[in-house]
Amino acid sequence: MKQSFVGVSVPRKEDLALLTGGGRFVDDLKVDGMLHMALVRSPHAHALIKNIDTTRALSLPGVHAVVTHAELPDTFRDKPIPLVHPNTAISQGFLPYVLAKDEVCYVGEPIVAIVANSRHVAEDAVALVDISYEPLPAISDCKDALKPSAILAHVDAKSNVAARVPFKFGDIDAAFKDAPIVLKESFFQHRGGSFFMECRAGLAQYDPMLDLYTVHLGTQVPHQMKRFYMDLLELGDNQIRVIAPDVGGGFGSKAPFYPEYALLPMFAEKLRHPVKWVEDRYENFVSTFQERDQYWEVELALNSDGKIRGLRGSFIHDGGAYLPRGLIVQWISATTVPGPYVMPAFSMELISAITNRVPTSAVRGAGRPQAIFVMERLLDQAAKKIGIDRAEIRYRNFVQPDQMPYSVGLIYRDGKPVTYDSGDYPACLSMALDRIDYAGFKKRQLEALSKGRYIGIGIGNYVEGTGLGPFESVTVRITTTGKIFLYSGAAPQGQSHHTTLAQVVADQLGVEPSQISVVTGDTGSISLGVGTFAARTAVNAGSSAHIAAIEVRRKILSIAASVMEVSENDLTLEDGFVSVVGAAGFKRSFKEIAVIAAGIPGYSLPPGVSAGLEHTATFSPAQSTYSNGSHVAEVEVDIETGYVRILRYVVGHDCGRIINPKVVNGQVVGGVVHGIGNALFEHIRYDDQGQPLTVHFGDYLLPQASDVPRIEVLHMESLTSLNPLGIKGAGEGGTLPASATIISAIEDALSPFQVKINETPISPQRLFELLGDAALGRTK
């Protein structure tokens, strides 16, 4: 066989169109007669809707429809957006209607939908809708939401608690009783939002001839969206097709089914015009789900050698006004705390609070960064208290490679016990520490101090459950023209699936990745699919691509052996031909084989041949597979201004087998930069009446090219036995420990001043406050 493509940085199939302005994002799509939707959104964090008068809006020339809750179709008017992950622990899982009925519970909640000739006119009409509200008091902060006399976020709520979930294993009382060292800390963590560059968008068409709705949606999960549409609009399987075209970033927030999406096919059918909606950036701030706040209270019990005895505590998660995404993020936070460390006993209570803010759901990292921050900060504090090196305390507590597979004792979001399948955590940390010359840091720090410079080093380790089930679908098909197609339910938003999946198939079929046409994210092209989120696609779709390609290869060999009357062992696949080894002229093309597999009308298929030169695989993992990594960062703090500069950032990374090194590095570096944003820049603020204060990119700071250093990424490959290629997910690892690592480094830089940092993000102003008089520096 020819060279292997898996493991090679094959340049991307996606690039040429995107580099030349030929991308097809939803808003690039144009259909004759297309109309545009805009929404009237609640300006109040909490209010009753007393009256809506749409007369003025309806009479504006160019307006085709103005719809309130009352005018929604019977099929979903009073049906709330479904809960994606039911959980018996949810006691108050408020779910929104597509358009608010008589109560609005967050600024940005959609109330009236308008369709007009242009977005301009639709927005003009928005200004002409007259709504009278009875404003109600609102609850904003999730910690305040749990206070005894707190304002209730919903009129019908009994409290502001959506769910309380305990997580326990081991004997936590024994762990704390007589523990030589006990630390008690509180943490505040905020993670902002996804803030993809392409806002959410959808274009719906209704074809009466086919009785078919086609919805192009900037979504991470087209098959799930199809199911939502079937349920809400009561459509048949052959009446709705959802296509994710080019999608400009998702990062988790393009996974939910949002209210606006239900309106598009409704309008397309009602008005007999295609209808497009493009979220603008203001809407993105007030209606796209965020990840936001968590408050943690925790205690860590250790032996005097720094070995963990147990960890207990609770955390409050800001769920926002509605819970259509269930407890995904919160659950992941709770179950990720132990991380790569041996944890004999654990007790954590998750409290998901209801607030009058836009709902929260997973944003790249999905609750893990918060758990990692807690564990890593506690270990830093423990090391300091005991007087041992911060890396050393990690080594003493790591799950060792010979303990794999290692059962943590918790049930993960996939319903399975958290069981780390493979990985060498100590080796990964050492790899990173060696690269940054951790051993030599103390000397560098003292030298810098002598020159009046404050530098610090920080460590953050993580384990990440990836390759989440239930499955991903791939069809590999060689058509009767001899062309190779790959269809998948994967729905990329930049993760290069077209290239990586083609690499996997190319290896089995003896062709170049460029000879494989890849179609993703189209429910019309493959009937089953799950989608791209949670670092699951390389594992699931990669495995399915591998399995499907192997089966197609087997079919080719079987048919060719029969037709050419040779042994399968004498055959080889190369460049679209199956030929006898050593007799290159004795061959058949894939086209010929495909024609045979398609059969000849009236004739039976040859013995042992099933119909079609294709195979669909839906690899289903037994459990998640656990990637891991170690980040180490050096920072410098200007104590006079509080400005933090990252001097070096090293990542030790293990995601099992790498399909495309440049692609994985791109995911890691991009993830780290997102994490830098979480550590230093990104903060969505609300006032205490639930009014968002951060509503544009002037206030919400995303990292720029000049804010971030080069990220040095080192790889290990601990293959997993949980899938045929040994792959683990790589999409989120860069983000996970970044806050913990950077804040650890800042604290280390400021150790002359005994500053303790239990929050993320940290701003220069906050460092100024923590430094007190020391911030006067030379002006003292």
Binding site: S118, R119, H120, E123, D124, A127, D280, R281, Y282, E640, T641, Y643, F681, R685, D687, L693, H696, G698, D699, L701, P703, Q704, S706, D707, S763, P764, Q765, F768, E769, A775, L776, G777, R778, T779, K780
Partner: protein
Amino acid sequence: MKASAFKYHDPHSLSEALDMLASLENTIILAGGQSLVPMMNFRMVTPDHLIDINRLTALSSIELHENSIKIGAMTRQRDLEFSPLIDTHLPVIQEALQYVGHRQTRNRGTLGGSLCHLDPSAELVAVCALMDAVLHVQSKNGARDVPINLWGQGLMTHSMQPGEMLVGITISPWQGPHGYSFVEFARRHGDFALVAVACLLRISANGTISDASLCLSGTDSSPLRVTSAEQILIGNKPSHEVWRAASEEAAKLKAINDPLISQKYRQHLARILSYRALEIANERALNSQGRHYE
């Protein structure tokens, strides 16, 4: 975020523009658009008439008249950035411009636009205040000059009357050897300043400070000359203690408190940046005399 409808006008002469300003209601002037158009896209600003003055090329000029630099209101920030005249006579403007937005915004943004928008932390406004700039205003009925210290009348509000338009700015560079600096603290490259300090220093032959101008921006709704600091500086020899005392004066000035940035932090930055600005200006002052900092 699409702008609301307006009637568009593009005058081809200044008098045509002034006639429009005099006769139309609810008008806004479009210059560089880098501050205005976002507000229009957000529908925070909804004019009935938009007067695009980008055709008034005569208002884009940088000229040296005797000892003053006269800059037309429509002069792009980019042109200031690359102007040899500005480099020679007003290098503090070029130092300030490295903090102003990004290349894309400087290609369109204008000096006049910045002065009319009056963002509290606008670098160019601070430099004008530093140098006691004089602003030239015209209307259909005539022309008048407004010294910079009378230009603003509150947060982001200039003092022009309806029908008036800013047409030019005159800045008189300090003559003879002197030092300058512009120091800013922002969260990211190109962001609005939290606080910025602009400084001019002249050191006399006997080593004492003979002239000083120190201007803060971002602390209050408009730039503030720290006159009490200037008084401490003049007559003293440069030293750590003099910088410390002057920067302490800067920290005493009233500063805005808002949910994002506290008054205390603004005042602290005023102190820190004043100290740094003075150090740098002093170093440059000494260099301009052929001496080096000891």
